[in-house]
């Protein structure tokens, strides 16, 4: 078990390092002229500078170092918690992130809770119902939830619940009321995926022979669904939640833009528009770290929740 944990943590760290490296390569090595990109981002026209000034700028951004040297330098700073300086605003990226991260974490937290509740609830009801037309209609609904663009759902909800009904504010970060519409918007695609997967595994479990046994013992449908089906079908959802972190982060970029919230997602959108390379690198690294950490936790929790896996791990 101990070796499993250690190997899993090492693997997670390596994946994270790999993600950082790929992002670094794309951002710093792919552009044909990273210097002029950075100068434009900080509001300076590269043509107006003399050769000496250009050289100085090159040194300032660390572009005069070798590729490997610069990479290691940035990585070293990162490990000390220093994400560098934003090109467009000149402030430290770490402060920017610290300012905005709580808002996004709150939004993501609410959205994840909401999507799990809604997804499980939906699948439970859809499997439970017996009237065929409604059953079939409900089965197709998650696919629709997956097809609707997140930003469009946001606009629709704003139109209905802010402009027409006036229940919730359409933008901003003030108070819990401003969190409701964004969280609902962000939770829909993930909820649809959970519902889809759960409905499938509910169906599978209903076909198992231990369900027939439970029926033979005289349990009612409700008892079987609650005690046997849900418990056996629910575990894969845990893995899915881990994998959905990526979608939640992607969705946060769109949702925060639609609802003009101050958060990491909108920071990402703004800094891509300004081609603010250090900020983009920092945001992507943070999201990858969140993804890797959550999935690591899920993997480590799994054997605790399903003892069969722990036993299998011991044998090999």
């Amino acid at each position: 078990m101990k070796t499993y944990i250690i190997s899993r943590i090492t693997q997670a760290l390596l994946v994270l390092l790999g993600a950082y490296t790929i992002t670094y390569v794309i951002l710093y090595l792919l552009p044909s002229d990273a210097l002029s990109l950075m100068l434009t981002a900080s509001g300076v026209d590269a043509d107006t500078l003399s050769a000496a000034q250009l050289a100085e700028a090159r040194h300032h951004y660390g572009l005069d170092r070798g590729v490997v040297d610069q990479y290691l330098h940035l990585l070293g700073n990162l490990l000390r918690g220093d994400f560098g300086t934003s090109l467009s605003t000149g402030s430290s990226v770490t402060t920017l992130l610290a300012d905005r991260l709580p808002q996004t974490l709150m939004l993501a937290g609410c959205a994840i809770t909401l999507s799990v509740t809604a997804g499980v609830g939906f699948a439970y009801t859809a499997t439970w119902l017996r009237w065929r037309p409604l059953r079939l209609a409900l089965r197709r609904l998650p696919a629709l939830g997956l097809s609707v663009p997140v930003f469009w759902t946001g606009l629709l909800l704003i139109q209905i619940f802010s402009f027409t009904l006036g229940w919730f504010p359409s933008m901003g970060n003030k108070g819990f009321a401003s969190l409701v519409l964004p969280a609902v918007t962000l939770s829909i695609p993930s909820a649809a995926i959970y519902a889809q997967v759960l409905m499938r595994s509910f169906d599978d479990v209903w076909g198992e022979s231990y369900i027939a046994t439970a029926r033979a013992k005289g349990l009612s449908r409700a008892q079987i669904q609650w005690r046997h089906v849900l418990r056996n079908a629910a575990l894969p959802i845990l893995t899915l939640i881990g994998l959905q972190i990526g979608n939640t982060v992607s969705g946060a970029v769109l949702v925060e833009t639609v609802f003009t919230r101050v958060g990491v997602g909108r920071l990402a959108q703004e800094s891509v528009l300004r081609q603010d390379i250090p900020v983009v690198l920092a945001v992507v690294t943070i999201s990858a770290a969140a993804f890797v950490t959550i999935n690591l936790i899920v993997d480590l929790l799994y054997p605790l929740l399903d003892p069969r896996i722990a036993r299998a791990a011991k044998v090999t």
């Binding site: 390596l14 663009p149 402009f163 990526g246």
Partner: protein, 305 residues
């Protein structure tokens, strides 16, 4: 009196004739039969035909927009601005008096091109990686799969944002960025399929028959492993439309006055209070297209089982 042999003439026994024919071209007729079986299966899915019709409409809009509308997408008519949907202007008009339905139809060109390019990148790149990974196994497999793991740790929209930051804005960069985001899925599916097919008896038979690895790969493994990847491609065509429209909504798409679907929604957003149809109708169009693709790929999956 001898019983005449009707087998060659009886309309009830055409199978006999067929068999003698198909001996000459066994593969093609088997393929034809499979196709016609699939088609007749699909006839039982009215939703599928509806979805297919909508996608054909979108493709037609992308290829020949002039057939579907008589307005000019860039002609501004200041007197007709912000009109609600009507019989003349099906989707209403925008803040410059341009017909929104026409803008959506012309927008299909850019959006479909972007999605097609993205899926092609993901399909070719991902399938090649998956094919090598599954076929050769061992160290090559380990290296490729670690790379895929790393790519999966980057949320697809963020990976696309990174690429767009580096190579600039516009339809082409967005398409490339989306394509790289979809690539890992193709690699994984292809690898799993190749690993399944590789162990089947006919591959072994081909090997015993003396076929080289290249030939086995091209003639036996690739055709039999590609079914699942094609289903994924239809599904991801919808995902590509979604992500690409998201990127152009964020402002990284084509420059005005050309407009992708996402750009149309982003522009209409400013008029949500006064003219809600401006952002909402193009968005509904996108949602329908993605839903149709989703439905098609689901039906294909069910039928191929």
């Amino acid at each position: 009196m001898t019983t005449p042999d009707f087998t060659h003439f009886s309309p009830l026994a055409p199978a006999y004739d067929d068999r003698t024919d198909s001996d000459d071209v066994p593969i093609r007729s088997a393929r034809l039969r499979r196709w016609s079986e699939t088609l007749s299966l699909l006839r039982g899915h009215p939703g599928f035909l509806l979805a297919l019709a909508f996608i054909l409409f979108v493709l037609l809009a992308a290829a020949m927009p002039t057939l579907l509308t008589r307005f000019d997408p860039y002609a501004t008519v200041p007197l007709e601005k912000l009109r609600a949907p009507s019989l003349l202007h099906w989707f209403g008009t925008d803040e410059l008096g341009r017909d929104l339905y026409t803008r959506v139809v012309y927008g299909a060109g850019l959006s479909v091109q972007a999605a097609l390019l993205a899926v092609s990148i993901a399909f070719i790149g991902g399938s090649t990686l998956g094919l090598f990974s599954g076929f050769f196994g061992g160290r090559i497999d380990a290296v490729i799969m670690r790379l895929i793991d790393v790519m999966l740790a980057l949320p697809s929209l963020l990976l696309a944002l990174v690429i767009v930051t580096a190579i600039g804005f516009g339809t082409l960069p967005v398409a490339i960025a989306v394509g790289f985001g979809l690539l890992p899925g193709f690699a994984r599916t292809m690898r799993a399929e190749v690993m399944r097919v590789k162990t089947l008896a006919y591959v072994e038979a081909a090997r015993l028959g003396g076929a080289g690895w290249g030939r086995i790969l091209v003639n036996h493994i690739l055709p039999n492993a590609s079914g699942a990847v094609v289903v994924l491609a239809t599904l991801d065509f919808g995902v590509a439309i979604l992500v690409a429209s998201g990127l152009s909504f964020l402002g990284f798409g084509a420059a005005p006055p050309a407009a992708e679907w996402g750009t149309l929604i982003a522009n209409g957003r400013k008029f949500l209070i006064t003219a809600p149809w401006l952002p909402l109708l193009p968005g509904m169009f996108v949602a329908l297209a993605v839903f149709a693709l989703n439905h098609i790929s689901r039906t294909l999956e069910e039928v191929s089982k």
